[in-house]
Symmetry: C2
Subunit: 282 residues, 2 copies
């Protein structure tokens, strides 16, 4: 049975509802907040769901407030679910050095194996299993799922599909951390959450997973060319090479002048939603 | 001559640019930040401008991040300018009681006459004169102007047009404080900024100004019926009565289920932008 969920906010939006809920996550061992956008079509019957995984420092609110996705989701009849980006709370260990790129707001969508993070930092299991089960038990949605995300969440969306053939109908990402085993953000987070054995890291790296993937779900990626993190952290060329080597379908769009912000995401979110709607059967 | 302006941020957005600038305001006696959205059409020649006045506690960022206006502005070829909502800084007196509904973030778009607020709190002159002069001197825009706003900024947009016949091509508001001389927010702010003589307040009240307006610019208002501030603070019925008595054209749309948030604004901003574009000649 699912634990109870508590509604903490509701805003009418494009004829549907944006709502926020708090629940106790068994997987994460703490209370969590997530947001749901239910399009108007959800009043007449179940709709498919796009899961959105946000980037470093974000909560459930950034995407819902800034991406402008509700307009298109309301047209297409797609629900959107936005989880938080890490376990939270006074009992959940944060960054050892107070940094913003590990700890609270920076769960990296992995299952931590190193103490003390292994107790709470299991965002992969939360995003792939616990949250969808909760959503499908409590909301008027089908089990048709797609997934997308930004930066750390783009990495999350890619590994969730690559590790779970058949679970998602489509995947897309904005500015994903494509190759975390080979960038500073990934090194820092994976050392903390997974320990020093770099072989273990490869199970959480899109470029590594693409080679052995048993499902070739087409990947849509938008990447701003003026993104300050592009070369050092995001490495779209590594993703391109991995997809080419494996024969994995990739549409990588480099967008001139665009940066890493939600102004970039808002500019192209409609294309992503239509990409997902086509796969979800709308 | 205009004082220099300093660019502090730039984000590509829907083929155009969102930019933020800092400048010294002579009128307000402090440094101010404002945001501009320049649509792609501004690269080929001057475009008209919509001024957006935000509500209590907001800065230039709320509208630009949350309203989803850039998509439509880019289609219609309209620039959008969003000023801050009050003078700011350590030298600018704030709320006597630390409140959020007067002082910093709560200038109410009046020219204060009472000490110590009369030195800095002149947001009316800033919004109507100083900022447009700066914009028209520094950006590829025409002198065709429209104005819109939310809550305190809806009040601001209405009084700016009513007090300046011929200056704006069109006006609209979301959830405006329609009758500040007769609501708690207005009483508190006008007492502080204008003093105790309530006759003086009437020069800053839309319902009072409508009776003697010499230009009958049609007013478009959207108001959420689930807005928690509706009856006590916003009073759309007072606006309806004032317009009816004066024969002033008003389209007042009550939107069932919608609240006071940017989720509401985002849901209907496209209608407002098209209303303004029709008047601006796009």
């Amino acid at each position: 049975m699912n634990a109870p969920i508590e509604q903490i906010a509701a805003n009418r939006s494009f004829g549907g509802w944006h709502k926020r809920f708090r629940h106790h996550s068994t997987v994460l061992g703490c209370d969590m907040v997530f947001a749901v956008y239910l399009p108007p079509q959800a009043e007449d019957g179940p709709v498919p769901v796009l899961y959105w995984l946000s980037g470093l420092t974000c909560s459930d609110e950034n995407f819902m407030q800034k991406a402008g996705a509700q307009r298109v989701a309301a047209e297409l009849g797609i629900a959107i679910v936005a989880p938080d980006t890490s376990p939270r709370g006074a009992d959940v260990p944060g960054a050892p050095d107070g940094a913003w790129d590990v700890g609270h707001g920076a769960g990296f969508y992995v299952n931590a194996t190193r103490e003390p993070y292994d107790r709470h930092y299991r965002m992969y299991d939360y995003a792939v299993d616990e949250l969808p089960a909760l959503i499908e038990a409590n909301f008027p949605v089908t089990d048709r799922r797609s997934i997308a995300g930004h930066s750390m969440g783009g990495h999350g969306a890619l590994i969730c599909t690559l590790k779970n053939p058949g679970r998602y109908r489509s995947v897309s990402a904005f500015s994903p951390i494509s190759n975390p085993v080979d960038c500073p953000w990934g090194h820092k987070a994976f050392s903390l959450y997974l320990g020093d054995d770099r072989e273990q890291w490869k199970a959480w790296d899109s470029c590594e997973l693409i080679g052995t993937a048993t499902e070739r779900l087409p990947i849509l990626v938008d990447q701003g060319e003026a993104d300050g993190f592009l070369d050092e952290q995001l490495k779209p060329d590594a993703l391109r090479r991995a997809c080419a080597a494996a024969g994995h379908p990739l549409t990588l769009r480099l967008q001139p002048g665009y940066d890493h912000s939600y102004y970039f995401i808002a500019s192209f979110i409609e294309d992503h939603l239509r990409h997902h709607a086509a796969a979800l059967g709308n």
